[in-house]
């Protein structure tokens, strides 16, 4: 690209860019500005300190709910990632290597979650599993199981696609045969040969899961009405307070930003444009 001509096309491109940039940035700027105005007439980080060191929505004592709820959602994300890896990686590997005929079925399953949005899934889970004979929602662990299962299904299209792309980039068949000729069993193959080559895919999927989990409201709120998830916490703060919600918005936005940046750095050069919505 030698000369940058300012022809009408490029001008139009710039106009589009500025328009879209404004749309995306202005709401955040106003939100950020708002979050600094908790103390009258002065810009301060009071809203942030309030959120990070107290419980703004009920002036309670103890550890600020910011941390407990963030921890809870992070924990849920962690288990979701674990379950995803345990289930999806071996399956993707097996489909790639041994049962390619199953691919269309997998394609179907990775598209199915789009037909069953969060609220419908939540409805389905509660009607199916909270009543007898399952009664999962009677115990904390049982409820958490549903949450983790729901999250896993929710991120499954992206996780599977990331892992599948990663697998196709390495020659799964040849690597497996080489490993087997050297005496490796299936567990060894997955742990020592396949997973190390999927680091990028797994990391991207994990970060995406985390970003989704901390913002997720629907499933978490209905399964845990005591509002222990981070999304529920944000909603609770939003009901009663004015400035702290803005601070939380900025914080959650920053967290997602960090996740995306890490994904992009890690996935540099590979074909991974991840997109998911919390709605």
């Amino acid at each position: 690209m030698a000369v940058k001509k300012l022809n009408p096309t490029t001008l139009f491109a710039w106009v589009i860019l500025i328009l879209c940039a404004a749309y995306l940035i202005v709401p955040l700027l106003t939100q950020f500005d708002y979050s600094l105005r908790m103390r009258r007439d002065v810009l301060s980080f009071d809203a942030y300190t309030s959120v990070l060191s107290t419980n703004p929505d009920d002036n309670g004592q103890g550890i600020p709910r910011f941390y407990t709820s963030l921890l809870f959602s992070t924990l849920m994300a962690f288990f979701t990632i674990l379950v995803s890896i345990l289930i999806i990686v071996p399956t993707a590997y097996w489909v790639n290597y041994r049962v390619p005929k199953f691919k269309p079925v997998m394609d179907f399953f990775t598209v199915l979650p789009f037909a069953i949005p969060g609220i419908v899934l939540t409805f389905g889970y509660l009607r199916t599993y909270s009543a007898q004979p399952f009664a999962l929602t009677n115990t904390e662990v049982g409820t958490a199981v549903i949450l983790i299962g729901g999250y896993t299904i929710g991120v499954m299209p992206y996780t599977y696609r990331a892992v599948d792309t990663g697998l196709r980039a390495i020659d799964v068949r040849t690597l497996t045969e080489a490993a087997r000729s050297l005496g490796a069993g299936w567990g060894d193959i997955i742990l020592r040969v396949i997973l190390p080559n999927l680091r990028v895919a797994v990391l991207s999927a994990s970060l995406l899961t985390f970003a989704i989990a901390i913002g997720e409201y629907t499933l978490a709120n209905f399964l845990f009405p005591d509002e222990r998830a981070f999304g529920s916490y944000m909603a609770a703060v939003g009901r009663n307070r004015i400035f702290e919600p803005a601070a939380l918005t900025i914080i959650s936005y920053a967290l997602v930003w960090v996740c995306v940046l890490v994904i992009q750095r890690v996935a540099r050069g590979t074909d991974q444009t991840q997109a998911a919505s919390i709605r």
């Binding site: 139009f12 879209c20 709401p27 708002y34 209905f222 930003w257 919390i278 709605r279």
Partner: protein
């Protein structure tokens, strides 16, 4: 859950080896059944059951009441509008950062912003738009005091369908950008050169080559955007609440125990959503396949 085969079974008959290999996908199938298929099945079957458990179509006909039809209508309307607007704006931005001639450095930033924005929804997004365009929002004040346009006196409110549309667009068009950038990248430079070489102007290229090739991808993504908006709940709940009764909110009330005159109706409502989304997904897959066929 683990893949359990330690070594392939001794090949007595070829048939047996193949069928045993399918065991490897069993964990996934089980998982998908428990957390996806079975709940959906519950919804499906209960849509056709009345209080006594007998088969009935009453639940389905119960959908056709004014308030429920209106909820579906509002949801479909918002989804269509944000899908079309989001697709248009997103495609333009994707064009701008790929072929449009913007500096390469900008592309990376735009993709990062769009990745974040596509994931940014629900409660925080609602907060942001209230702060922006609420009655005492920053932009509202600026337009009133700085430019003289008084939004709220002229009938605008962020707590309406229009407001929700604006908020949805925030994650719709970035999603479109993320999907369309690879599609624009896939328009090989040689096709443009070949078209020029054969006498075609830029307009000729877009009319005969560029747009036809991109169209399935574009349409498919629009459909995806529709589904994305249709299933959204948290943003609507947090921003407009009961003022805009999208169908997802109606369903959420069923979960909270709002007693409808007909409990089976709640299942039918969920089924209705699934059917609409299933149709759009089928459309999306069909359109994607058309693109893939050409761009091997």
């Amino acid at each position: 859950m683990q893949v359990t085969l330690d070594h392939p079974p001794a090949p007595a008959l070829p048939i047996r080896r193949v069928s045993l290999a399918w065991v490897g996908v069993l964990p996934f199938l089980l998982f998908a059944f428990i957390f996806l298929l079975f709940p959906s099945l519950t919804i499906l079957t209960n849509s056709f059951r009345d209080r006594q458990g007998a088969f009935t179509l009453d639940n389905l006909s119960g959908i056709f009441t004014p308030s429920i039809l209106q909820s579906y209508g509002v949801s479909i309307q918002i989804s269509l509008v944000t899908a079309i607007l989001g697709a248009g704006l997103g495609a333009l931005l994707a064009w701008a950062i790929t072929i449009g001639g913007l500096p390469r450095a900008i592309r990376g930033w735009v993709i990062t912003f769009c990745s974040v924005a596509a994931n940014f929804g629900g409660i925080p997004l609602a907060f942001a738009f209230i702060t922006l365009l609420g009655r005492t929002g920053a932009l509202t004040k600026f337009l009133r005091d700085g430019i003289g346009i008084d939004l709220y006196n002229n009938g605008f409110s962020i707590y309406t369908v229009a407001g929700l549309t604006l908020a949805y667009l925030y994650f719709q068009f970035p999603l479109m950008v993320l999907i369309m950038v690879p599609a624009f990248d896939g328009l090989r430079r040689e096709w443009r050169e070949a078209a020029a070489n054969l006498g075609g102007s830029t307009l000729d290229f877009w009319r005969h080559v560029g747009i036809p090739i991109l169209l399935p991808s574009f349409l498919g993504s629009t459909v995806l955007l529709f589904g994305n908006a249709f299933g959204a709940f948290a943003t609507a709940e947090a921003l407009t609440g009961s003022k805009v009764d999208v169908i997802t909110r109606v369903i959420s009330r069923q979960i909270r125990g709002d007693v409808l005159y007909n409990p089976g109706l709640s299942y039918a409502l969920a089924l209705g959503m699934i059917v609409i989304l299933a149709i759009s997904i089928t459309l999306y897959v069909w359109l994607q396949r058309r693109t893939a066929r050409w761009l091997r």
